[in-house]
């Protein structure tokens, strides 16, 4: 052979997988659709951070007119306008200058409240004195914030797994439909190709989430809302760890089912069952996030653990060992699913034309 021929480096699985992953990432980063959708997500996130900051600023203390001589509780957070008598106070209430008036009363409190057309709840809350409360059962659902966190984890995993799962399935079908796959397979082993595609897509998905999370954290901190983040640190970290494994598991299924068809139009016919696996945990967490049993089961089922376990950690209902066990289950099923997915992928990739039947794809 000619002396100018460069000597090829010996085959290295790691280098090959990384080459494939790099291409996958590069193609996606250049895709307008991907950049636009990431931009929209970022804008939505920034928007909600700003709106929540503005709302917090706008919430001023309620205004009241207080008749001279009334003694208000010291802790009451009210903007007070002193007036001479009841008539003057009523005038201010009717005019809408104040939310309510406080007048002297013979009752045990020593004062009463006058409202305009409805009971002035803001003022009543400010005036109420609640005794300290101690809960015997702390395995509660965390109320509204718990609900938000549940939806948050669920939505992030759902959106990410759906978009990036579809991405990898499409990329597999594209290689098959354009026949470039045969050239690729003559250069590198099938499994290295699959691994590279999964790695690249996982890095993209994880990168997008990391970007969104850091924007959220920076945004909340700079707008003085860091208090909202209290108690979310550890669940965030666990979510990230679970996310990677859970995503790899789904991505291998998307890649395998994508390989079974030869045209982009047919992709739905084989990937739909995997799409269901992504949707079910999301709907379960939306409807059953206050059901302790359901969430506990969720936190151990591999497909829903990335949502269920961080949620339980946030609610404080999981023992310290539970995320580790669940992670172990997820890792083992991940390995199994990758092996299965790789088999389907290998056996389907060169069969063009008709959709490959699952039994054939498994048998080879």
């Amino acid at each position: 052979m000619s002396t100018a021929a460069p000597i090829a480096q010996p085959y290295s699985t790691v280098r090959t997988i990384w080459l494939v992953a790099q291409r996958e990432i590069m193609v996606r980063l250049r895709s307008v659709a991907f950049l636009v959708s990431t931009g929209i997500l970022l804008l939505l996130l920034l928007g909600s951070v700003v709106i929540s900051a503005v709302t917090a600023l706008g919430a001023e203390a309620p205004k009241v007119a207080v008749v001279a001589g009334v003694q208000l509780p010291a802790a009451a957070d009210l903007t007070v306008t002193e007036v001479a008598d009841r008539a003057a106070a009523e005038d201010l209430v009717r005019a809408g200058d104040v939310d309510a008036a406080v007048i002297p009363d013979d009752g045990p409190l020593g004062y009463a409240v006058i409202g305009d057309d409805s009971a002035p709840t803001g003022v009543l809350q400010a005036l109420s004195v609640s005794p300290p409360v101690e809960l015997l059962d702390t395995s509660g659902t965390g109320g509204f914030l718990g609900y938000l966190v549940a939806i948050g984890f669920g939505l992030v995993f759902f959106i990410s797994a759906m978009t990036f799962g579809q991405t990898i399935a499409q990329s597999v079908v594209e290689e098959k439909a354009t026949r470039v796959v045969e050239i690729l397979l003559s250069a590198i082993p099938t499994r290295a190709l699959l691994a590279g595609k999964i790695l690249g897509t996982t890095i993209l998905a994880f990168g997008q989430i990391a970007l969104l999370l850091s924007i959220a954290i920076i945004g909340l901190t700079t707008t003085g809302q860091a208090a909202l983040l209290t108690g979310l640190g550890a669940p965030f970290v666990w979510f990230a760890v679970f996310f990677v494994l859970g995503f790899v598991l789904l991505a291998s299924l998307f890649a395998a089912t994508g390989a079974m068809v030869s045209r982009l139009e047919d992709i739905g016919s084989t990937t739909t069952p995997v799409t269901m696996l992504v949707m079910i945990p999301y709907f379960v967490v939306v409807f059953f996030n206050d059901n302790d049993l359901v969430v506990t089961i969720m936190s151990y089922v591999p497909f829903s653990a990335p949502v269920g376990m961080p949620l339980r950690l946030f609610l404080g209902t999981a023992e310290w060992w539970e995320p580790i066990v669940s992670l172990g289950i997820l890792a083992v099923s991940c390995a199994g699913v990758i092996a299965l997915g790789a088999r389907i992928y290998e056996n389907s990739l060169l069969r063009t034309g008709q959709r490959v039947k699952l039994a054939e794809a498994l048998r080879g």
């Binding site: 000619s2 090829a8 010996p10 080459l19 193609v27 045969e182 050239i183 003559s186 250069a187």
Partner: protein, 294 residues
């Protein structure tokens, strides 16, 4: 030398390759001939490791082929295709690197090849934006960009415009002259006949004939001769051991029982007049092909 030994492959109950064995010698063009579905593509895919054989082995210079050995192969599949939206040069660099070239080597080789194929100005275009002729050239570039030492080409001439056929031909001959084993399949028997040093004929998954082209021709040629003399050739009918098929003035076509009988005819012909042509008839590739696959 590329050696294929006892390769077999079944899909379910269907046996598509059975005990396939042949050699592809360095510096020689080997033509791989067979009908549709005879097993050419399957054999090539197995040589490249794209498919796994059920049994048998493929070795290059007596070493079994792993992912590293196969990096020395250049492959043009029958079903052509590249990434349509990827830029031409970028795609070639990627393929070269998948074959183990360093980034620098890959870029250098891509530039060289694009220059040689007249695609230098198209380097930054997406493959789908290229004209059909240029897409064919791009496909050739994809098979060569990693400077392969063995070429396996499945129907390299099918669907090519005449200019691209010339390019492929040139490249194949150049690589073969440089000492590379070159195996290519084609159903255009005239091209194979013209180009090949060696032939492999496959039918229904089994090798029917394999060897140097001339040897195969000799093996399959009968003792049929043609003679052209200035004298009338009618006398041949009286010669012993000769079966005349046709005479026309000084022309005769005949079968000889032995080569000696043919030599006797030649001596007699020279005595009777001027001999302008005396030759043993060689079968064409398509005649051999029909005979061995029957």
């Amino acid at each position: 030398m590329l050696q294929i030994r006892g390769v077999g492959k079944s899909y379910g109950a269907r046996r598509v390759l059975d005990d396939v064995s042949f050699d592809v010698l360095p510096g020689r063009m080997t033509g791989f001939v067979g009908g549709n579905g005879a097993g050419k593509t399957t054999t090539m895919r197995i040589i490249l490791g794209v498919l796994e054989a059920d049994e048998g082995s493929v070795t290059l210079d007596d070493a079994p082929l792993g992912p590293t050995g196969r990096r020395r192969f250049g492959y043009m599949p029958e079903e052509r295709g590249l990434y349509p939206k990827m830029k031409l040069a970028e795609q070639l660099v990627y393929l070269a690197r998948l074959h183990g070239l360093t980034a620098d080597d890959a870029r250098r080789s891509t530039d060289d090849l694009l220059g040689r194929l007249g695609l230098a100005e198209r380097a930054g275009d997406a493959v789908e934006k290229l004209s059909l002729g240029n897409q064919q050239r791009a496909q050739i570039a994809a098979a060569l960009v990693h400077k392969p030492e063995v070429l396996i080409l499945d129907e390299p001439f099918s669907g090519l415009d005449p200019m691209a056929v010339e390019v492929v031909l040139e490249v194949l001959l150049e690589r073969a002259r440089a000492g590379a084993p070159v195996l290519f399949s084609s159903h255009q028997l005239d091209i194979v006949e013209r180009l090949c040093d060696d032939l492999v004929i496959i039918s229904e998954g089994t090798i029917r004939a394999a060897g140097p082209r001339e040897e195969l021709r000799d093996e399959h040629s009968s003792l049929r001769y043609q003679l052209q003399t200035s004298a009338d050739a009618g006398w041949l009918r009286q010669e012993a051991g000769i079966d005349v098929i046709e005479t026309d003035g000084g022309f005769a076509l005949f079968d000889a029982e032995t080569p000696e009988a043919a030599s006797r005819v030649l001596r007699a012909a020279v005595e009777r007049g001027e001999v302008t042509d005396f030759s043993r008839q060689h079968p064409t590739l398509s005649q051999i092909f029909k005979e061995v696959v029957r």
